[in-house]
Each structure stands twice: as C-alpha cells, then as structure tokens.
Symmetry: C2
Subunit: 92 residues, 2 copies
C-alpha cells in the first residue's frame, strides 16, 4: 500500500514537472523584445563605429544586442560555455 501511494503520487506529479522542465529548458530568451515575432539584428559593416563590437548570444545582456559580460554569470550558474560573436575591423 505504501509503495502504491508513492507510485501514485510520483505518477501524478511527474508529467507536469517534466512538461515544465522541457518547456523552460528550451526557451532561451527570457525577456528581450518579446513584442517582436522574431528578434533579428543587423549591422552594416560600413557603420561599425569603433574597432570592434561584440554581439550577445546568451540573451541575458542588459545592452542587448550587445554583449555586456552577462554570459559569465550564466556560464557560472549553469555550467554552460557560451560567449559573444565579435565583429572586428583590422587595425589600421
């Protein structure tokens, strides 16, 4: 009886928990420009103002689309290993 109760309670709670973890495991952008159907950014290289610009790929930057170093906390908290893409102009 005890094992049945355990079985039943696990059975009851497992599907919603799995659903929850599956869903949140796939959503990447927590809160950036959620009014846009798809967040795409453009850089025209002729407009590159400084020698380089780093674009965020962790979706945690407060200066999105630019990298502000927030990937470090993300990597530490999760064991992930992500970072920006850096667009550079060769030094003159």
């Amino acid at each position: 009886t005890v094992s049945f109760v355990i079985y039943a309670s696990v059975k009851a709670c497992a599907p919603p928990l799995l659903e929850f973890s599956r869903k949140t495991s796939h959503m990447i952008n927590p809160n950036i420009r959620k009014d846009e159907k798809k967040v795409v950014d453009f850089l025209e290289v002729e407009d590159l103002a400084s020698e380089k610009v780093s674009f965020c790929r962790c979706w945690k930057s407060e200066k999105f689309p630019y990298c502000d170093g927030a990937h470090r906390e993300h990597n530490e908290e999760t064991g992930d290993n992500i970072g920006p893409v850096v667009i550079k102009r060769k030094a003159k």
Copy 2:
C-alpha cells in the same frame, strides 16, 4: 500516515527535480564545442566574403556559428522569439 508518505516522497524528490529544471532551464548551448571553456567567434569585416552573413544565437544550428534556420523549430517548439544577427555590406 498516507499523507506523511506522500509528503515524504515529494520532499525527497522535489529538490533534485527542481535542481534539474533550474539547471536545464538556464543551459543554452546543448552540444556545440563543449571542449571550449567559452565559445567566442570572430569575424574580421575585411574577410566578409559575400554580401551578408548571419550568426546563430539559438545554439541549435548545424552550421554554427552560422544560422541555418534552426531557430524556427526552436521558436515553434518553445514559443520563443529568437533569431540571428546579420552582418551586411552595403550593396555596391
């Protein structure tokens, strides 16, 4: 007694489940270059071969660091809204 058993079994399994969902909800890169401590990519604009290049920010592309459209499936499956960053050269 029954409610205690339920309480005990939920108590026992909740922390690892929460840990799991927290962890996977934050990990973004499933399998790209996991041997690297931090995945950073560089483009020197002088090396831009074609008129534009799209960099993946969903970490699901099979042509990473380039976008291959995999963000579409990610967005559909999760309700997310992410897309690439596009580096362009003005048409001549």
